[in-house]
Symmetry: C2
Subunit: 271 residues, 2 copies
């Protein structure tokens, strides 16, 4: 009996959550590329799954952006059936992406899902690619906050923005806008204008590392929500963030390695 069990009705397969990196294949690690080569079935948001160069034995199961938990469950089911499943995310799989959805599905799913071989392959997340385009805006203490209020109340997001800006952290905003969430980014800028200096550099980085890359730097006073779209990561400096003007080259934006906490606008910081 044990000798003739085929792969599909014997031991469960494996599920690997893979961060594809922010841009082209140049920014995907060999570890991620090898994990893609090994898998038989690919789950993920349409554009990420379609980006992959797959062989004839590899199957795509693309789905919409807002179906993360259903996608996670379908991927886990297929891994239980003995397939070698890959769940792909742009950037890093662990930052506002599919690794958390897979864990959540396991946490609330059937007990046998806990026996599955789960692996997660990290990648370069969007904020790191955007930061590299302009200098080192994340060179000192910083945070990453999702501006989507689909799964958390706006009041919590606003409170977090006030707390981190007041504490002097640089802020990277993921999911800044979407068709269903048109006003949140403008509101976030308004909140931050009440705390940070008007000249604080704001970086809008769209599709960093891809052919349609677009990067803009504006002072917080002039930052508007229509400067971002779904594919943009927005980095907002701290009172200590500096901008270096350069003739004939774009400016550099960076966070100094030293911090006093006494930059302008630091009303609620220790003295």
């Amino acid at each position: 009996m044990s000798g003739d069990a085929s792969r599909n009705d014997a031991a469960p397969g494996r599920l690997t959550v893979i961060g594809l990196g922010p841009g082209g294949p140049e920014q995907m690690t060999p570890e991620a590329r090898n994990a893609v080569a090994r898998a038989t079935d690919f789950f993920g948001y349409f554009p990420y799954v379609e980006r992959l160069a797959l062989g004839p034995h590899q199957r795509r199961h693309a789905s919409d952006n807002r179906e993360e938990l259903a996608r996670a469950r379908a991927a886990l089911d297929m891994a239980m059936a003995g397939r070698e499943v890959a769940v792909v995310s742009g950037g890093d799989a662990g930052v506002f992406a599919m690794a958390a959805a897979i864990c959540e599905a396991i946490d609330h799913g059937p007990a046998e899902w806990r026996a599955l071989d789960i692996a997660i392959v990290p990648g370069v997340t969007a904020m790191l690619a955007v930061a590299a385009c302009v200098g080192a805006p994340l060179g000192h203490d910083f945070c990453a906050i999702s501006l989507s209020d689909n799964l958390k109340p706006w009041e919590l997001i606003a409170a977090r923005l006030r707390a981190v800006a007041g504490a002097g952290l640089v802020i990277a905003l993921y999911n800044p806008v979407s068709r269903a969430r048109p006003w949140q980014l403008g509101e976030a800028f308004d909140i931050l204008r009440g705390i940070l200096p008007a000249r604080t550099p704001v970086v809008f980085g769209r599709a960093a590392g891809r052919p349609d890359e677009r990067v803009a730097i504006v002072p917080l006073a002039e930052a508007r929500s229509d400067m971002a779209d779904m594919a943009t990561c927005v980095i907002i400096g701290s009172p200590e963030t500096r901008l270096i003007a350069r003739d004939g080259r774009p400016p550099l934006v960076y966070a100094p390695r030293s911090a006093t906490g006494a930059g302008p606008g630091s009303t609620d910081r220790p003295s």
Copy 2:
């Protein structure tokens, strides 16, 4: 005159700051590998420079960890002399690493340094690699804070820890301990124990992605500073962080994609 200027006394060269990734070559992007192949002179902290497989025409200029600004200036000088200079960091070059030191040196250096061709190649930073080892602890809002008080006052670090923990962000600590800074991590745990639930998962990830990788998960109540060394990244959960126990496998730690801000210990969060 113009025709016989050799490369070394003519146009300045280029300086590329390269993030080598957290571990072995499997986690270094092709973009970083290609940038290494192109450079003639390598600046960086000893272990990173020594890790590189270089050709006979490529020169190492390794230096100590605490000499970042002097190293940045030497690298910029050499690029001005027409060399193809690489400044390397482990992980991502933009996160508590050399990209900020290079910008700082340019900001305060001679005007001609602003004319240099500066490029930054992002990499997988340590916290992403550590997170991937255990699940998705950075799956929702999080921050990265350096625990080194060499260049910022301890009171500022303590205030930031209180602000971010109170706001419900997961915390990744870089530079948690060193021989010269033995007590800071223990003090940080004490501060956080006053704000976060005792069961909050704390992940100690050492050398993630390398052969000597070591990962431990303990509740905040039991977290001690001697569980970390210089090569460790420490991730401290939020009140919403969950741990999934698994028979015969290490537990998974993750941040749920939804947040109410009403986890236990959330004394100063909106209701």
